[in-house]
Symmetry: C2
Subunit: 138 residues, 2 copies
DNA sequence: CATATTTAGTTGCATAGCTAACCAACTGAG
DNA sequence: CTCAGTTGGTTAGCTATGCAACTAAATATG
């Protein structure tokens, strides 16, 4: 009914992908949000909240909650920023460090599987276009 | 950081589009979800909850809530199904009927604007690809 | 026909996201 | 140096979504 609508089709696809990636991270008992938050910190230990929000393209408030949850699960910890007393560095715990490879692999496995179904080029084109549309939007 | 990730880029784009369409429907004091729910009913008055959920690609439970909200705002009403006592038909109120054209136009205006920025073909290709990926997913 | 199964819709509970308002710490202008 | 403004992060309150469990109605099966 809204076959030509960018909004409708993108949001519907996003919800569907949410389920696919949720399955992929289920073995770790992490939601996609949690897994991506963790992956971002694992790639840049000591990242600040504001950087994290920017990296994940979420609001700062949302980043606070995401980190809260992973701190509660002993996967992340906050340390006071060195120069600026308002800032907090986010560090992975050793437990989280052990997951780094598996998480990246879990996500890569889904991606590879979908590339198989959709064709590597179509897949890459779509992602590229998504980014391109994104940067054109307000 | 997740530049090549289908999940990441699609969900981020979806959130961004959410904001764009939210602006478009703001004059009606409707969120995008509400506006699309209403538009779906306006296109098919008497639609059943299950059909609505399928049309909007949301869970039935979510459809229930969406309709609840619009019933509370006197834009929709439920009528008992004719044949099957479990079913409910969803009908637009006269007040909602007045909005039909404006809502469709508001959405079309955003789309046209974006087509201008992104190029009509790129826009259409992307939407087509989104649907194509969607039907390949579980 | 009586009971078991399926189906339409709802409710409870949880997650992730947002904006707005806030606090505390930093910065800069006078 | 002080006070106004800015900035990093948090909190409050809201929406949309999902899954799982439920109710009630319809259907099927024996």
């Amino acid at each position: 009914m809204f076959d030509e609508c960018l909004y409708f089709n993108t949001t519907a696809l996003a919800r569907q992908l949410e389920r696919v990636w949720a399955d992929a991270f289920k073995p770790f008992e992490l939601t996609p949000s949690q897994a991506f938050t963790l992956r971002a910190v694992l790639r840049k230990p000591g990242i600040l909240h504001s950087e994290l929000a920017e990296t994940l393209k979420i609001a700062r408030a949302t980043a606070t909650r995401a980190v809260d949850g992973l701190v509660a699960r002993h996967l992340l910890e906050r340390r006071p920023g060195r120069n600026d007393g308002r800032e907090w560095e986010i560090h992975p715990t050793p437990e989280a460090a052990n997951l780094k490879f598996s998480l990246d692999t879990a996500s890569a496995r889904v991606s590879e599987h979908l590339k198989g179904e959709l064709g590597t080029d179509a897949f890459a084109d779509f992602v590229r276009q998504a980014r391109s549309i994104s940067i054109h939007l307000p």
